[in-house]
């Protein structure tokens, strides 16, 4: 019994220890968490405005977090960023850019949320890769963080819109097929019957035209009592005479 209890406690201990090691502050009211003012007011304002627009217009929560509260042992920045997103995000699709100010570590970017499963892993991964590629081109770390936040927002908004467009197209096709099915309630056999009758009718019309246009042959005139005259055995001559018209040169 004691061994079993100890065993179960060992299974859950790492999670409990980890969770208790991170002292999560209150979530920011906006999109940027920078308690120490490391980003600078101007950059922070721009980020708040842009990232706030993504949240309100596209239900996309992009958080830029400057973490200066230390990191528990055996915990990575990605784990932390993921916990931040899971804890602070207000929408079903979120992305977190996390950096420890003045550290040698590069900023980390993660995304998640219930809506993230709507997209193909390949598409989401590509969006993330593109955002990171463009964002990290900035020279300074502060500029990189700002750019990462903005690029993430752009990429995921594009992903959302494209997915919505594809869903709309699929729905339109389904609706059209549904309408087609509704407009033609007749079974297939009826349609085949109509097609066959039309084909036979066309063949019949062609045959009739052919028979009408076809010249008769082997016509036999009835025998008559000849009006023989002038001692001629076979022909009595004719009154039909015409002159060649004058040739116009």
């Amino acid at each position: 019994m004691n061994l079993r209890l100890l065993f179960f406690l060992c299974l859950f201990l790492p999670g409990v220890v980890t969770g208790q090691a991170i002292d999560f502050p209150h979530p920011p009211s906006g999109q940027v968490f920078d308690a120490g003012g490391w980003l600078g007011e101007e950059r922070r304002s721009r980020l708040e405005e842009e990232l706030g627009h993504y949240r309100t217009s596209h239900a996309l929560d992009v958080l830029v977090v400057l973490w200066d509260r230390g990191l528990p042992p055996e915990a990575t920045l990605e784990d932390l960023a993921r916990r931040v997103g899971e804890t602070w995000a207000r929408h079903d699709l979120w992305a977190v850019v996390l950096h420890v100010p003045d550290s040698l570590s590069r900023p980390v970017v993660v995304f998640g949320g219930r809506a993230s499963t709507d997209y193909e892993d390949e598409d989401a991964g590509l969006a993330l890769h593109n955002a990171v590629s463009r964002g990290m081109k900035e020279r300074s770390t502060r500029a990189q963080l700002e750019s990462l936040g903005l690029e993430l927002g752009e990429e995921f908004v594009f992903l959302k819109n494209r997915a919505a467009h594809e869903r709309t197209q699929v729905l339109a096709i389904h609706d059209q097929q549904h309408l087609v099915k509704q407009e033609r309630p007749q079974p297939m056999i009826f349609r085949a019957f109509i097609t066959t009758m039309l084909t036979l009718l066309a063949i019949g019309v062609v045959a009739v035209i052919h028979l009408v246009k076809r010249r008769p042959s082997d016509l036999r005139f009835p025998e008559t009592q000849w009006r023989r005259r002038l001692g001629a055995t076979w022909s009595g001559g004719s009154r039909i005479v015409v002159s060649l018209p004058p040739r116009i040169s």
């Binding site: 008559t224 005259r229 001629a232």
Partner: protein
Amino acid sequence: MSDINTKTSLRPYPARVFTREGMFCPHCRRELENVAETCRGCGFNLNMCQKSFPFGAPPLALIIDPSQLLPAGIEEDLHKPYRKFRKCTPQVDICFCFVRLQVESPLKEFAFWLHNTAPGADHARAWQLLVVGDLTSGRLTLTSGYALEPFLKQELWEAALQELAACFSDEQWKEGLHGFLTEARNLLTTAWQVAEGCRQPNHRPSPARSQDLPEKLELERPEESEIPGSGAFPSDTRQGYLPTSLQRERGSCPEESATP
């Protein structure tokens, strides 16, 4: 002498069933009475006509062109329309003859003579159409045998002949002959349809009506014409000239000068 043909179907129709047109003398154009052996107006008959053309008539063929008016190979070009024509009405045959008559030789009399005296005549000659063109006078005439005569409408065939004449005037020989054969086929088809419509059960002569006519009569053979000389078939103005082709066809032909 009767004018009844007996080598035909059991029920020959009177010609008046199909036509009411009159018969006219080729010489003076006076209307003839039925079964007139000689024209009352001018005394014309076939015997008298033969004196005007004291030479042997050539056998009838699709094209008789001793003066070589038509281009070579014209018969080959007409083979297809001619075949269609014969297929349409197998009873009827047609012949085109182009000659250069002397100035005093009437075209209608020549056609009358040729139609009746050309060798190789049998019952089919009565179903023959003969188109004769005279290069001297620049005219065309159409004659038909007795059997076909009741079914021909003069104005229609005259129009067809005028079309042929127009083509000849433009030297469109092939087109003219081709067109005439086609038009003849159409006219005969129409004539047959009209004839079928005219053939009513009550028009057929019953045996009681024809009691004044003998049931069987042998068809009179055409008299052997005593041709005084072999003068030229009018392909050349020279007297006594007979083309080689006609000499071969006729076989032995006495080479004598024509008697005037």
